[in-house]
């Protein structure tokens, strides 16, 4: 395989990883601070995609629609996240994890039904904004500018989350909550409100992922489960609760999906390699590459 093809597959893998990282970072952040595995995370990704379709088609014109959706969809999923955290999760904090799992799983069914009710069961499609709807030549092949944009957004999100967690008061509190929420509450920090904010950030990232993926795929009522499976695989590989782990895990999964599919002997098993990687990590280092073992 020539260098041009290698670069093409590498960039394709990174663009797959970009959206997966953004979605998984939200899932991981929530788990790290709240110790909640949010099964409804994929639903919020789906809602983000449908909201972006609605904004682009019905509210904003084609020129600004996508950029408006980038703001509106994460905002809406963050608000939904706040409602979920306050009314569904808060009552079950501190209780066994099974209750949280069942509660958030029930939400996936409710959200799936609501999306069908509100938006219908039709598959939708949206275009990338005109400025990004072109390709650049890479070793003789055209490569989508929009996919390069996805990689750039993922880098920005990663940088933004790093700054948020390490350079702001909110980030300090989140990190403290990850270490010991009870100790943090004794310092006067409103941990209840902090948890709501963290959950909103997590669901906003799911919504952002939904907006970003829409022009490369379809907006359909089944997209929630597909992304959740990959997000969990990434979390297990990278370490649930670790932002760096989400980033590395997403890149590993993206490259496996791209290169695994590219080569004839492995093309049919690309997705299986993702789960093989997950099993290997679980066996050798159950808390993931960058996770911390539970005490």
């Amino acid at each position: 395989m020539d260098v041009g093809n290698l670069v093409l597959f590498f960039l394709a893998g990174l663009s797959i990883a970009a959206v997966l990282f953004i979605v998984t970072a939200g899932l991981s952040l929530v788990f790290g601070a709240l110790r909640v595995i949010n099964m409804a995370h994929g639903s919020l990704y789906m809602i983000g995609a449908f909201v972006s379709w609605f904004v682009i088609v019905h509210l904003a014109n084609a020129l600004f629609g996508f950029w408006a959706a980038l703001l509106v969809a994460p905002l809406i999923t963050a608000i939904i996240g706040a409602v979920v955290e306050i009314f569904v999760l808060k009552p079950v904090y501190g209780k066994e994890h099974l209750l949280q799992l069942l509660g958030t799983y029930a939400l996936t069914l409710i959200f799936a039904g609501l999306v069908r009710k509100v938006f219908g069961a039709d598959v939708r499609s949206i275009s990338a904004p005109a400025a990004l709807n072109s390709s650049v030549p890479i070793f003789g092949h055209g490569f989508s500018v929009y996919q390069l944009f996805l990689i750039a957004v993922a880098v920005l999100v990663a940088g933004g989350l790093y700054l948020l967690l390490n350079r702001t008061g909110l980030g300090r509190n989140i990190r403290a909550a990850i270490s010991d929420p009870q100790l943090l509450s004794t310092t006067g920090v409103n941990v209840t409100r902090l948890f709501t904010i963290v959950f909103m950030i997590g669901t906003a990232l799911a919504g952002l992922g939904g907006v970003l993926v829409s022009p490369t795929s379809s907006v359909d009522p089944g997209m929630d489960s597909n992304v959740l499976i990959n997000a969990f695989a990434i979390s297990v590989i990278g370490g649930l609760g670790s932002l760096v782990g989400s980033l590395v895990g997403a890149v590993i999964v993206g490259l496996i999906l791209s290169f695994g599919f590219a080569y004839p002997p492995t093309a049919h098993y690309a997705i299986a390699f993702v789960f093989a990687a997950m099993v290997i990590v679980l066996t050798i280092r159950p808390w993931g590459l960058f996770g911390r073992a539970e005490q």
Binding site: A12, V123, S125, P215, S217, S218, D220, F261, A267, A270
Partner: protein, 428 residues
């Protein structure tokens, strides 16, 4: 005043007479012996949801039409429609429930071939006629593993449509290097080898760039970010695809995203339908070669014109290929049941086998040996026409079903189990 009263009386009498003689058209009231149900399990949700809306509308229009004509054998007909979510198990469950609980006297087949294959044993156990209007794996009428005596197909099967597309594609001898993309389930695995065989037979110099193990992607693939670079890297002259519905929409979106001139750089041949065109009204590529099962705009005759008008008047959208074929399926079954004077499955089947029927697509004969409808396929190049809100076809070729059906000796070999793995390619 007297003249006015007399005029009024004459008017009323005339109206009553017209109604009594049936001159009232659709206002005619018919007394039925009772109601019989026909079952239809179709995707209103899931991967093929885009198809279910028109199928449902066609079934309801047919229901109105047949009952306005006095029903079937004096019975009012109700089409029971259930959503299968494009799910195999749900399609089988729907079939079971409609036969056992709704006492359906006939079933109209599902969309996916795998759904039909799951539902067929249930139709067989209950000895109910099962008319396929969309699912079309050729093995459904030929393979000892799938075939049931109650299964009738009025849709061009995978062999027929792939042959039509393969011959058409092979005639373009400048296209040497082909890349193949297909959904990984029974339909794709039946249709794709048939296309490749017809392509190679027509143009023996073609080269298939990807190996058969690389042809298939999961049916519910909605993200082609890893598939499209692979196609680009292979640098084909042409791409053949039979992915459909939401998966096709996602592929076209992804390809245009990756390379705006994707569909002009690579000659593209694909299965498609009006529902697929409708999914991307402004973006569906023009200039690509498409094969369709029943595009209303290309079908000749007054029946289809009248049907399109009435369908649009009622539903405010154009009928899809599936809407044409499902209407035909119901009409063919009703004609056979009326001719049989009974809903008895054996009698209805006897009046289907080897018989010809007037349909929206013209005269259709159900071949006696495999109960496969001898139906045509349309192949054309996508173009825009201001008359329609979606692309249509130009430069159409329309090989008749008689040129496309599987030869009878092959049917017999398949039915007799002489072709290992139920694969035509393995026949002696």
């Amino acid at each position: 005043m007297f003249r006015l009263t007399r005029l009024f009386a004459v008017g009323i009498a005339g109206t009553l007479l017209a109604v009594a003689c049936g001159g009232g058209g659709t206002n005619t009231t018919t007394s039925f012996k009772g109601t019989k149900n026909v079952g239809l399990s179709t995707p209103i949700t899931g991967q093929s949801a885009a198809y279910g809306k028109a199928i449902q509308a066609a079934a309801l229009l047919w229901q109105d039409d047949i009952n306005a004509k006095g029903g079937v054998n004096g019975y009012k007909i109700e089409v029971k429609i259930t959503d299968d979510g494009t799910d195999v198990a749900k399609a089988a469950d729907n079939t079971r429930r409609m036969i056992l609980e709704d006492h359906a006297v006939a079933m109209i087949g599902a969309v996916l071939s795998s759904q039909c294959q799951a539902a067929m044993p249930i139709a067989h156990q209950n000895h109910i006629v099962y008319v396929a209007a969309t699912c079309n794996d050729y093995r459904n009428t030929t393979s000892p593993d799938y075939r049931i005596p109650e299964y009738v197909s009025v849709v061009p099967n995978t062999y027929m449509e792939a042959t039509a597309a393969g011959i058409d594609a092979g005639k373009n001898t400048s296209l040497k290097k082909w890349y193949i993309l297909s959904p990984d389930y029974s339909f794709g695995r039946a249709e794709t080898p048939a296309f490749v065989a017809a392509l190679k037979k027509t143009n023996p110099s073609v080269q298939i760039l990807n190996s058969p193990s690389e042809w298939y992607v999961p049916l519910t693939t909605f993200n082609f970010q890893n598939v499209i670079p692979k196609i680009q890297a292979a640098q084909p002259d042409a791409i053949y695809s039979n992915i459909f519905a939401a998966t096709q929409t996602a592929f076209i979106n992804g390809a245009l995203q990756a390379q705006p001139d994707f569909f002009t750089k690579y000659h593209f041949v694909t299965l498609s339908s009006i529902d697929d065109f409708n999914a991307l009204p402004d973006k569906y590529p023009t200039g690509i070669r498409v094969y369709e099962r029943a595009p209303f705009f290309a079908i000749q005759g007054n029946s289809i014109k009248d049907y399109v008008k009435r369908f649009r008047d009622k539903n405010n959208f154009y009928p899809s290929d599936w809407a044409v074929m499902d209407y035909d399926a119901l009409s063919i079954w009703a004609a056979a049941a009326n001719k049989a004077g009974s809903f008895d499955t054996d009698k209805v089947l006897k009046n289907l086998a080897g018989q010809s029927f007037d349909t929206l697509r013209g005269k259709v004969t159900i071949r006696k040996e495999d109960l496969q409808g001898v139906v045509p396929v349309w192949v054309g190049t996508t173009t825009r026409d201001p008359q329609y809100p979606f692309v249509i076809l130009k430069d159409i070729v329309n090989p008749p079903g008689s040129e496309l059906v599987l030869p009878l000796n092959r049917v017999k070999q398949m039915q007799d189990g002489q072709c290992p793995k139920n694969d035509l390619a393995n026949c002696p």
